[in-house]
């Protein structure tokens, strides 16, 4: 049995802002350009990939984020077991997408750390280090953006009002989380 050691150890809470890592959550990057790719993914997962830029879609089990015209991230809505990294969804997509040469499926479960933020100060925090204009973004549920926060690449998913998923590459996550806590302490 292997121990599971994620980066962010403690949930953090400030007035108007709570931050915690959600783990383990399966994350896949799926790539494809063909029309059949979209329909094969849709059929396999019972989830339509968002076609429109900067948006997301969601089923009971999965959420899909638009990342670029031929790239999406899919993540599991539920928390998985930490002693097993074999995912049925990945296997299914490998069979229906990769083996049929429709596109690519890559496991990025630990490539990204998922930090969930809740509260009405989320965007005040982002404004201290991100050039992205969150004015309209924050009030529209389901929007997605890739941008930078204190020079680090992030993916922001506006899951719900005052409820945001932030994805950051694992190697940067300790630094970013420390920076976020520093900034949050003065909001």
């Amino acid at each position: 049995m292997l121990n599971y050691s994620n980066v962010i150890e403690n949930d953090k809470s400030y007035p108007g802002l709570q931050m915690r890592e959600i783990k383990p959550v399966m994350k896949l990057i799926i790539r494809g350009k063909k029309r059949q790719f979209l329909s094969a993914v849709g059929k396999s997962l019972n989830l339509l990939l968002p076609n429109e830029a900067n948006t997301s879609s969601r089923s009971d089990q999965l959420t899909a984020l638009w990342l670029s015209p031929d790239e999406w991230m899919i993540f599991s809505n539920e928390i998985l077991k930490s002693d097993d990294n074999n995912y049925d969804v990945e296997k299914l997509l490998n069979k229906n997408i990769c083996k049929t040469n429709l596109g690519a499926v890559t496991d990025v479960t630990d490539q990204f750390v998922l930090i969930n933020l809740k509260g009405d100060k989320i965007f005040d925090l982002f404004e201290t280090g991100s050039p992205f204009n969150f004015n309209d973004f924050k009030s529209k549920k389901g929007l997605v953006t890739q941008t930078i926060l204190t020079k680090i690449d992030i993916i922001v998913h506006n899951q719900d009002i005052n409820d945001v998923n932030l994805f950051v590459r694992r190697s940067f996550s300790d630094h970013l989380f420390s920076w976020m806590n520093d900034s949050a302490s003065r909001l």
Partner: protein, 91 residues
Amino acid sequence: MFLINCPFCGEREQSEFKAGGEAHIVRPKQPTELSDDQWAEYLFMRKNIKGIQFERWNHIHGCRKWFNMVRDTSNDEIKAVYKMGEKPPVK
């Protein structure tokens, strides 16, 4: 600091992008058939115009897609952005 309209993601700050030099320089299909001078022309020679310039840009901190831009270097006005493979919309 420009405000760049990524053809895929929409309007974003310049800090999300990386500039990639002159646009519409096509890699020769048969490099071995080129003389040293012809190869050097492709490899090294770039324009640096005061005025309308065609440039490659990459939305490196966003969708990671390359696209082209028409920019007036004399006042930094971005005249147009367009996808790779598309014809420039302005002369």
